[in-house]
């Protein structure tokens, strides 16, 4: 589903050159739940951003669903992200000025879908994460776990084949974290959604199919 070949990422400033990723080769199979672990600053989030086409590698190739992504234009890349990828972030990234339902509808705004259809899909996604009773709330009226569930609903509303989760349980206590993890596992098991998750939590990582470890930008296992 995702093929990373010889990925290298270098951050350059006028004074320093930092190698964030060094020759990473990784294949993620369709329907797989993969977790990435490593110490802070080892390049986990950078790798996830590159997989999600949010960042471009300095070297190497990213293929998603057998399609090379390096030559895609900005518009094509945006369309690709919208159709194929769903994102979950540690800090949720909900828009505080929009109600829960409107937050979940967001990805559908960039598709040709009408308002009724958008609302129907958003409600269904919220139902799936058990938040249909919080649709009219604003994000700041929710707990951390609820916020993350809204973020998951937003990620799955467009029925993407891949979900990229950057420390989705990082801001939550263990009980909440487990709840979120259960939802992700359910998505993987029932909907066969491919999930790549960055985490610091060994316990969470062990619940996934495969664990990849990074150290100083290199893949060590």
């Amino acid at each position: 589903m995702i093929q990373l070949q010889n990925i290298e990422k270098v951050y350059r400033t006028s004074a320093v050159e930092t190698l964030a990723l060094n020759n990473v080769n990784l294949n993620v199979n369709k329907g797989e739940f993969l977790s990435i672990m490593g110490p802070s600053g080892c390049g986990k989030s950078t790798l996830l951003n590159i997989m999600g086409l949010l960042d471009a590698p300095s070297k190497g190739e990213v293929r998603i669903d057998n399609e090379a992504t390096t030559s895609l234009s900005d518009k094509q890349m945006a369309h690709f992200r919208n159709k194929k990828l769903g994102f979950i972030f540690q800090s949720y990234h909900l828009i505080n000025d929009l109600r829960v339902l409107d937050n979940v509808e967001l990805p559908l705004l960039y598709r040709n879908s009408n308002a009724k259809e958008r609302t129907r899909l958003a409600k269904a996604a919220l139902e799936k994460v058990g938040l249909s009773n919080r649709m009219k709330h604003f994000p700041n009226q929710l707990s951390g776990g609820q916020k993350q569930r809204v973020a998951i609903a937003r990620a799955i509303v467009g029925e993407p084949e891949i979900i990229l989760a950057d420390e989705p349980t990082g801001n939550l206590d263990s009980a909440m974290g487990n709840e979120i993890m259960d939802i992700l596992l359910e998505l993987n098991n029932i909907d066969k959604t491919t999930i790549v998750m960055v985490t610091h939590d060994e316990h969470m990582a062990r619940r996934t199919h495969r664990l990849v470890r990074l150290f100083d930008g290199s893949q060590v296992s």
Binding site: S45, N49, K75, A78, F89, D97, L98, G158
Partner: protein
């Protein structure tokens, strides 16, 4: 997408209130400026309906005048003949103080069958006045000797006044102010004149024939000179006048110069107001630009998220410009509500079309301002790299 933008703006109404207020105030100021500009432009487009190029005014402030009417008549006839005998002079007429482009005005009112018209410019002039200024008659005739024996005081009125008094009916021959001591009879109708400068609105005007009595206070004459007549003649004319008008202060002026001076008097306040409005617009533009710029920095994470979930760069740019446009539209709806009260309540007695043009122009101006101020911040927002924006939060 519009509903989404509206929700976003509505949910942030407190933060957006000041920006909308700023746009509203600037709209009202711009509306005032455009009202003035449209009003003066519409006036400017109207013809003057008299010729002033070769006309000079002669002011003569006399210390003492002949006492009897007969002597006065003889005195003025002699003065007229002396000036007209000069080959450069084509026509001469005597007039009250309110000659074209002067600072003096004289106003009167007229009654006709219960209709009372006030603020009518009242000109007392001699028989050759129409020839000097080349006034255009619409109907009837100008004053002549045949008016000497008239029971009524003969008057010539402007078209504008004729419409006010008689509408589409006939004006010539009608007797006005029948109940007063001095009933007047209309002998002619002339085209409306703009004798207070290019930017003057068309107003009611009436011309009264100067009788011998009027010669007691008349201190102005207008002469039409032949084309090419220059300063040398002005000197000779002055000497000729001085020989006749002993103990009088004589002042000769060209109507072209008086017109320029009068126009400047109208233009100066307009220019001052435009400069003030210009500063305000610059302030609003900078404020708008600053707020939008600040918004981008405040909303970097949101922009990053939108890019992540499928918004192309162009869409982000369009969203920010559209948000500013929706805000402007809300402010303009309120602004237009206030602005339309002016024609509805007939404030300042201006034609409704002036206000309508001003509203349209002010709305377009505000939209243009908002687009200009939001384009660059929008472009900057589109350039934000999603990974960086999401990481910064």
């Amino acid at each position: 997408m519009f509903t989404h933008l509206f929700k976003l703006i509505w949910n942030k109404k407190k933060q957006n209130f000041m920006l909308m207020l700023e746009i509203l105030v600037s709209f009202l100021v711009i509306f005032a400026v455009f009202t003035m500009l449209v009003y003066y432009y519409k006036n400017y487009r109207k013809p003057m309906n008299f010729e002033y190029d070769q006309v000079w005014s002669i002011g003569f402030k006399m210390q003492d005048r002949p006492q009897s009417n007969d002597s006065l008549y003889v005195f003025f006839e002699a003065l007229k003949n002396q000036v007209k005998s000069m080959p450069e002079v084509e026509q001469l007429s005597f007039s009250g103080h309110n000659i074209p482009f002067s600072m003096s005005t004289s106003q009167n009112s007229l009654d006709y069958e219960g209709r009372h018209v006030r603020s009518i410019h009242d000109y007392t002039v001699s028989d050759d006045h129409a020839k000097v200024l080349k006034l255009s008659l619409v109907s009837g005739r100008w004053f002549s000797k045949e008016d000497d024996a008239s029971r009524y005081q003969p008057i010539v009125i402007s078209e504008f006044l004729k419409d006010k008094l008689f509408g589409t009916g006939e004006a010539v021959g009608q007797v006005l102010d029948k109940e007063s001591d001095h009933p007047r009879r209309i002998v002619g109708v002339v085209k409306d004149i703009k004798d207070h400068g290019d930017y003057q609105a068309i107003e009611s005007a009436m011309f009264r024939r100067a009788d011998t009595n009027a010669l007691r206070w008349m201190e102005q004459a207008l002469i039409r000179v032949k084309p090419g007549t220059g300063v040398a003649f002005e000197g000779r004319l002055y000497k000729a006048l001085a020989s006749h008008l002993t103990n009088a202060t004589i002042e000769i002026e060209h109507l072209t110069n008086k017109r320029q001076a009068k126009n400047s008097m109208t233009l100066v306040p307009i220019i001052i107001m435009m400069v003030v409005a210009g500063f305000l617009v610059i302030n609003v533009a900078l404020g708008l630009f600053g707020v939008l710029w600040y918004n981008i920095n405040r909303r970097k994470a949101e922009i990053g998220l939108r890019r992540a979930i499928g918004a192309p760069a162009g869409s982000i740019s369009r969203q920010l410009v559209s948000e500013a446009m929706v805000l402007a539209t809300l402010a303009l709806i309120v602004g237009c509500f206030f602005a339309v009260q002016f024609p509805l309540l007939n404030v300042f007695d201006l034609p409704a079309s002036v206000y309508i043009y001003a509203i349209v122009l002010a709305v377009l101006f505000v939209y243009l301002l908002v687009i200009i101020c939001s384009l660059y911040p929008g472009k900057q927002a589109a350039a934000i790299y999603p990974a960086v924006a999401l990481h910064e939060d």
